[in-house]
Each structure stands twice: as structure tokens, then as C-alpha cells.
Amino acid sequence: MSATGTSRLAALRGSNNEGVLALILVVLVIAMTIVNSDFLSAGTLFAILRSSIVPTVLALGVLIVIISGGIDVSFPAIAIFSAYTTVVLMRGSGIDAGVVLVLVVSLVIGALLGLVNGGLIARFKLPTLIVTLGTQGIFKGILIAYVGSRYIAELPLGMRMFSTQSLLTVPAGGENTSLHVLVVPAIVLCLLVNFLLRNTMFGRGVYAIGNDTEAARRVGFSVMRIQVILYVVAGVLAAFGGVLHVTLTRSANPQDLLGTELDTIAAVVLGGASIFGGRGSVLGTMLGVLLIQVINNSLILMGIPSAWQRTAVGLLLVIGVGVQAISARRSSRRVFAHREVVAPA
């Protein structure tokens, strides 16, 4: 095959197999539409998009951490901690806070919690998995033991007002189905993080650290600073996700989100990020989340009996990543043009 041909192929596939993932997604959707024609409807589409909002935002934070060569399991705790605490504070202070105040408060809390992670990891060079496993317990404990454990149904204005806003509404069948307005901030955040990772030196630094921390130091990146900042950013994103979650569910429940960490990490890795660090893209992550949401939100439509649904989710996940893994292997086959190419690990 010709060099240009392969490079065009590679371009299609994307640096992290985004292409393949997109293809899998399309195939899946087609298959599901064949099984049940109702599947391909504005209603389902909107529902899936809506249910992807929070996972996507959370995944963005995870993505940054994973690219830097770390693993964060504390983000659900940070998310719900920030959002719930904000709600409690607002109720306590009696002011019916608007969007700005709500966001400021919760994002600051998220940033602080992220700072705890980043500080420990950067200062003591600790394994990220362990640190975040630790802080996760601490945050969760403090939240429920000292902030509160009640299910709160009355939200501050800043959250209330968006809970039921919709972006656009289309008539489908009898009634109207509408797309929730909060997809907008989700998409904006995706663009922002994408910019942060691709077009800022900080972003390059994150990739550099993930590739080879020592080499990053040698080219002059201040590894510590970047690490601290990136965990703060991750904390802020988590907090944002938490606020979106509370807004969407129209209630603040301190037990929510906890326990979803592995699924989110899976979505990010599915999106082409390497758990060993140095690789990953926002686009891939979005596709990864979308794929998992499509799977989760279509089983009833597919008429799969409840008892079999977990199995189905697992199977689809394995098949999805399997196809991807195989195609990734293919792409790493060597091409000879009388120039040596070392096959990657």
C-alpha cells in the first residue's frame, strides 16, 4: 500500500481510533434501528443526549487525569460533594442564589478538593490511584457524616430555573419531545477542554508528563505545577458535573453518583485514552460516553428482558472494545518502504 494511502487511512482512523469508535457507534445504531424502528427517533436521540450530559462532563476531568498518566476515582465524590454542599449552604444562608453564585461556590469547592488530590500527588509523588481512593473515602465521609444525608428536593433558583428548560422542541408522534438546554454547557466544556489540551502549553505539559515525567522535567516543564493545576481543573469539572446532575434530577441526594467511577473511566479508555498516560482526546471521550449511553438506554427498546440487561451491556461493551482493539492491532502493523519502523508495544 502507498504511503499516502496509509496516511489517509490513518487520518480517518484518528490518532486514538476515534474513527473506528464512530463506526462502531453507527453500526450499533443501525442494528438497533433494524431491531426496533422506534429507536431512530428524535425522542430517543434527545433522551440519550440528555443522559450523556453528566457522564460527559465527568469524563472530561477523568480524561485530563488519565492523559497525565494518573487514575482518579475520587471525582464522583468531588462532584456530589460540591453540588450537595452548595445546595445546603444556599438553603442555610436563606438566599435563593442565582446561577452565578451557585456555580462560583460549587466550582470553588471542587477546585479545593482537587487541590487536595493534586497537592498530595505532586508533593509526595504518590500513586494517583491510591491517593484518590483515599480522598474519595474522606470526601464521601465528610459529606454524609458532617454536611448532611437528607434528600433535598428544594433547589436554589440557579438550579431550579434550568431544570426544565429545553433547547429545542420537535413534535414527535403525538406529543412533543425536547432537547434539554444543559447539553449546551456540556458541549461548551468539551470545546474548552479540547482547546486546553491541544492549544495550550499546559495541555502539552499534561501529555508530556503522561508520556515521560522525567523527559518532561528535562525540557523544562515544571511537573509539580502542572500536576497540581490539572487536578484542580479535574476537580472543577467534577463539581460542574455535580451541579448539572443535581439540576437535571431536580433534587440533591448525597448518595448519587458515588460508585460510577469505573464506568466513567471505562468510557474514557474506550474513547482511546491510554491508562498508561500520554494519549487521549476529547472527541474520543465523547464518543466513548455516547457509545455506553446508547447501550444503556436502548435495552428496553430492544425488548431485552431486565434479567438479561446487565449481560447485554457487558457483551456489547466487550464486543465494542474488542473490535476496536483488533483494528488498533491492524493499524500498528509495520509498513516497509526500505525504512525501518519499530512496531509499537
Binding site: 500513586p127 494517583t128 481512593l133 483515599g134 474519595q136 446487565r310 457487558g314 483488533i326
Partner: protein, 326 residues
């Protein structure tokens, strides 16, 4: 790590000697530890190759369910027969564990799926199978052989604990004294070099996950031995816990380094700490806080002390790669 275990022990002994040193309490620790310890060993083994196995708890439950339902099925027709077939039934259960592990092994080695994804998928598959199989109900009934074994105490030490000890010893031998063990560690240290050194990567990975499946199966047997029930959702809280234990025990999640002893000690430490806190009437959330704090403090101490030994830290998580396994 040993220091730590003793420390934890000492503290609680000091705080509430009557209750804590109560043989009953010590036995409790020794009864709860084994199933967790086995699962932690399984995770540690897969981490040695730079992977992870999230499906172990699901596998353990499948084993438990297999044993319980086989027993009750045969028992329905002929109770005596069921009892006499107990050993066979247990072996079948163990086999289920091995098969589960084999599936993981194939996905990771042949198909080449990232372990965390492969096993997250199979975790749901196995768990789903369990739910379909049991219809979500908790099965009741297990061979008397197992239940009596579960209650047996030899020289003040619960038989269950001896199982863990035995398993640990066997695993330690496999890891440190066999070619397979060596290849597992090398595989984790540098997969490419492993390939170029003639190590059969596929075979190594497959056997690793089969072994982890077997350990999980053994844990499943302990489940039913502790109480003659089997359900799809038992032990779900163990997944994160055993990861904590493995890493706390000095296993490097990036592969290559980890020790059986470290994991066992870490298991005991956490058990001692948890029952200790329970005794001093700490709420489960205060406990969550304490556990997290302890975890981090230990790592910091370990880092500060070992920091002098190891200068350069290529990857952040290598910080705890202390080559003590050989």
C-alpha cells in the same frame, strides 16, 4: 507493612483491650479476612502483569451460586447423594472460576483488549448471568462439608484463615519460584522486552487471569462456607477495597512489582482497623474518612522513607515499585 499491622493492632489493644483482644473478636478478624485476602491476591496477580481484574467478585459469586444450586438441585432428589458429591460440586465451582478467568485471559491476550475494559465488561456479563440464573433471589443451601468447615477452628485459628494462608503460600511459590511467575513479573515490567526475550506473552497473560479466576473461585467457596447462601450481589463493595489493599500492600499497578506477603499484611491491617473502629463505635462514615486518611498517611511515610532509596521516579506510580519480590 508489618510494622503497620502491629501498630494498628497495638493501638486498638491499647484503646479497648477487653473487647478487642477478646478471642471472639480476633477470630472475627480471621474469619472476615480470608475472602477479602484471596480477592486482593487475585487483583495483585493481575497487576503484576500491568493489568487488573475487576470481575473477580462477580466470578466468586458465580462459583458460590454454582455450588449452592448444584447442591440443592441434587439434594432435592437425594440429599445423601448431594452430600457425598460435595467434593465434586466444589470442584465444579472452582472450575467455573477458572473458566471465567480463561475468558478474561483470552480477551486480554488474544483479542488484546485493555484489561480494565475487558474485565469491566466480563464483570457485568458474569454478574448478569448470576442474576438471570438466580432470578435475583438469594439461594440458600450448601454442602454440610463446607458449612462445618466454615465453622471449624483449629488451635484457635479458623480453618477459613488457614485456607488463605495456604493459598498465599502456594501463590508466593508460583510467583517467586516458578518460570511462570518470573515471566509474569517480566511481562509487567516491559511487555516488548518480554516478547523479545521469548516469553509467550499470550500464554503468560492467559494463565495469569486463569489463576486470578481460580483465586476468585476459592473466595466464592469461602462465601458459601461462611454462610450457606449465594447471591448475585454479594461482595460488590469488595472491588474497590481489594484494589486499595493490593496497592497498599506494595503492588505497582503499572506492573512488575508486588509481593504476596505485602498484600496479606495489608488485608489484616485493614481488617484490624475496621473492626477496631467498629468497636470504638465510630460511624461507618467516620470510618471511611479514617481509612482514607490512613491510606494516604501510609503512602506518604513510605514515600518519604523510600524516597531516599530511589532517586529518579520515571512514572508517578512507580514511586511504590519496591523490588522486594525476588
Amino acid at each position: 507493612m508489618l510494622v503497620l499491622t502491629l501498630l494498628a493492632f497495638a493501638i486498638f489493644t491499647a484503646v479497648k483491650p477487653r473487647v478487642f483482644l477478646n478471642p471472639l473478636n480476633l477470630q472475627n478478624i480471621a474469619i472476615a479476612a480470608p475472602e477479602i485476602g484471596l480477592l486482593a491476591l487475585a487483583i495483585m496477580l493481575t497487576m503484576l502483569t500491568g493489568g487488573i481484574d475487576l470481575s473477580i467478585v462477580a466470578i466468586a459469586n458465580l462459583t458460590a451460586i454454582t455450588i449452592s444450586s448444584l447442591y440443592t438441585a441434587i439434594g432435592a432428589t437425594d440429599a445423601g447423594l448431594a452430600e457425598s458429591l460435595a467434593p465434586v460440586i466444589v470442584l465444579v465451582g472452582l472450575a467455573v472460576g477458572a473458566v471465567g478467568g480463561y475468558v478474561n485471559g483470552l480477551l486480554v491476550s488474544r483479542v488484546g483488549i485493555t484489561p480494565i475494559l475487558a474485565t469491566l465488561g466480563t464483570m457485568q456479563i458474569f454478574n448478569g448471568i448470576a442474576i438471570t440464573w438466580t432470578g435475583g433471589k438469594t439461594l440458600y443451601g450448601a454442602p454440610a462439608m463446607l458449612t462445618t468447615f466454615g465453622r471449624t477452628v483449629i488451635a484457635g485459628i479458623p480453618a477459613l484463615f488457614l485456607v488463605l494462608v495456604a493459598a498465599a503460600i502456594v501463590l508466593a511459590v508460583v510467583i517467586n519460584k516458578t518460570a511462570l511467575g518470573a515471566t509474569i513479573r517480566l511481562q509487567g515490567a516491559n511487555p516488548v522486552a518480554a516478547r523479545f526475550s521469548g516469553i509467550r506473552t499470550d500464554r503468560t497473560l492467559t494463565s495469569t487471569y486463569v489463576m486470578s479466576g481460580l483465586l476468585a473461585g476459592l473466595a466464592g467457596i469461602l462465601f458459601v462456607s461462611r454462610n450457606p447462601t449465594a447471591s448475585a450481589d454479594y461482595g460488590s463493595s469488595y472491588v474497590l477495597l481489594v484494589i486499595v489493599i493490593a496497592v497498599l500492600g506494595g503492588t505497582n499497578p503499572n506492573g512488575g512489582f508486588g509481593t504476596v506477603l505485602g498484600v496479606i499484611l495489608a488485608t489484616l491491617t485493614l481488617q484490624i482497623v475496621s473492626s477496631g473502629f467498629n468497636i470504638i463505635r465510630l460511624s461507618s462514615y467516620d470510618y471511611a474518612i479514617a481509612q482514607g486518611a490512613i491510606l494516604i498517611i501510609i503512602m506518604v511515610i513510605d514515600q518519604v522513607t523510600s524516597g531516599r532509596r530511589r532517586r529518579t521516579v520515571p512514572k508517578i506510580s512507580d514511586a511504590l515499585a519496591t523490588p522486594t519480590e525476588s
